[in-house]
Symmetry: C2
Subunit: 228 residues, 2 copies
DNA sequence: CCATACTGACTGATCGATCAGTCAGCTACG
DNA sequence: CGTAGCTGACTGATCGATCAGTCAGTATGG
């Protein structure tokens, strides 16, 4: 019930260290089994360290989960912010498609780095974003609300016909579409008998950009209809 | 691994029975804590039965989870199919908006029946749909792929400009948008300072229909651009 | 010499599952 | 009618396994 008082963890993790090994292992295990389903023992085993070392560095399983989330979402959101800022240097030439691209591309590029099946952090991101669990909601608020506001502001700037309210809906719905991409369940492949391969990320992303931009522009159109 | 040989469970559950009480309790507990996070003990306690009774009726925790999923998804998908079939009686007058409405409305109406915060089965649906876990993927395939094919077929019929491939993408992306609605994390409310209330289901649904139809129509437009 | 990094051995709690056994109700037979 | 035989529903007690977390103690490098 703490409320607003929450701080971002970002403690400089030296690559190649045991701590990094633990976080890598945690990413794989949490991605496969979820928070409750994962065991600290398995993470320790995969990282090649004693279980007690995890508690030594991170104190609790929850802290470990947060540290792992913080590391990757830092990477992702720095890349997103950089792409967005670069676009907004010349605001008049920015197209909606560019903003949507900046929203999704960093997520898939770092999210699929680890784990043998390319699932990695993306899977964790999906479950955190969709969870009603208090822990997950808190993480979403701390690590993803700031960048969300940046993108919502950008939408309002480059599409002046969009109300603030519709911009928030547009953002939420678009993130929902992105979840389809990141969950990587193989369902689209199954439903299409192979035509829609959700492991072909480039193809999928180009379809998503078309769909999402169409959705956002429809919200603008609707607003104009309401005014007239 | 098993493969195609999977059967739909649908064993006629008498309402008011102890079995129904167990399923109701399971729905609430699984929705709040997920599969791994939920305990059979807590479900038994909430249902007011001995823990052993759950194992007597369902044998394993997994079977219980499947039975619970089967019951609600049966309800939801029967309603969806009925709405869709009624629309397709007069295929020429059907608008895309009607199909999208048929896709989402039954889900929210039965999905929010149980559980104090109105979360109920919707939350379970979200996690099953986005999970890469084998158990969840199997459930999605058995209980949701058939209705998915129906909707994809309907999209192709009423929007002839849509290729089969883009219809599958359209379906997947739209389901992704629907997840935003069903997860009910309160994030849209937070990001909009109250303007976008994700507990106001009617408002949310009307925005979703606009967005989703815009997205689908954009995929049609893109196909035409490719041909020219 | 001392702090930091690290470990093996351990704890109490909780997990899903199993067990023998109770009990109400039904059937069959004399 | 009555009672023996049987069944399905259900329970309390308890199983071994596994969980997150603790702690005393060791190794190591500046």
């Amino acid at each position: 019930m703490g409320g607003a008082a929450a701080e971002v963890i970002e403690p400089e993790i030296p690559a190649g260290s045991r701590i990094a090994a633990i976080l890598d292992a945690a990413e794989i295990v949490f991605a496969r089994s979820g928070f409750a389903g994962a065991s600290v023992r398995e993470i320790a085993e995969r990282a090649g360290v004693a279980q007690a070392l995890i508690h030594y560095h991170f104190k609790t399983k929850e802290n470990l989960f947060e540290a792992m989330t913080a590391r990757r979402s830092g990477e992702i959101n720095n890349a997103r912010a950089a792409m967005l800022d670069e676009l907004l240097v010349n605001p008049d030439t920015v197209e909606l498609e560019h903003v949507v691209e900046a929203l999704f591309r960093p997520t898939i590029e770092v999210g699929h780095s680890l784990a043998e099946d390319g699932g990695g952090f993306s899977r964790i991101l999906v479950s955190v974003a969709n969870s009603s669990d208090e822990r997950d909601k808190r993480l979403a608020e701390i690590y993803y609300d700031p960048i969300a506001h940046k993108f919502i502001d950008a939408l309002c700037r480059i599409e002046p016909g969009l109300t603030r309210k519709d911009a928030v809906w547009a953002y939420m719905f678009s993130i929902g579409v992105g979840m389809t991409m990141m969950a990587r369940t193989g369902r689209s492949t199954r439903l299409s008998a192979g035509e829609c391969d959700d492991s072909d990320i480039e193809d999928m992303l180009s379809e998503i950009v078309i769909y999402v931009c169409g959705g956002i522009r429809a919200l603008i159109g609707n607003q104009e209809r309401n005014i007239q």
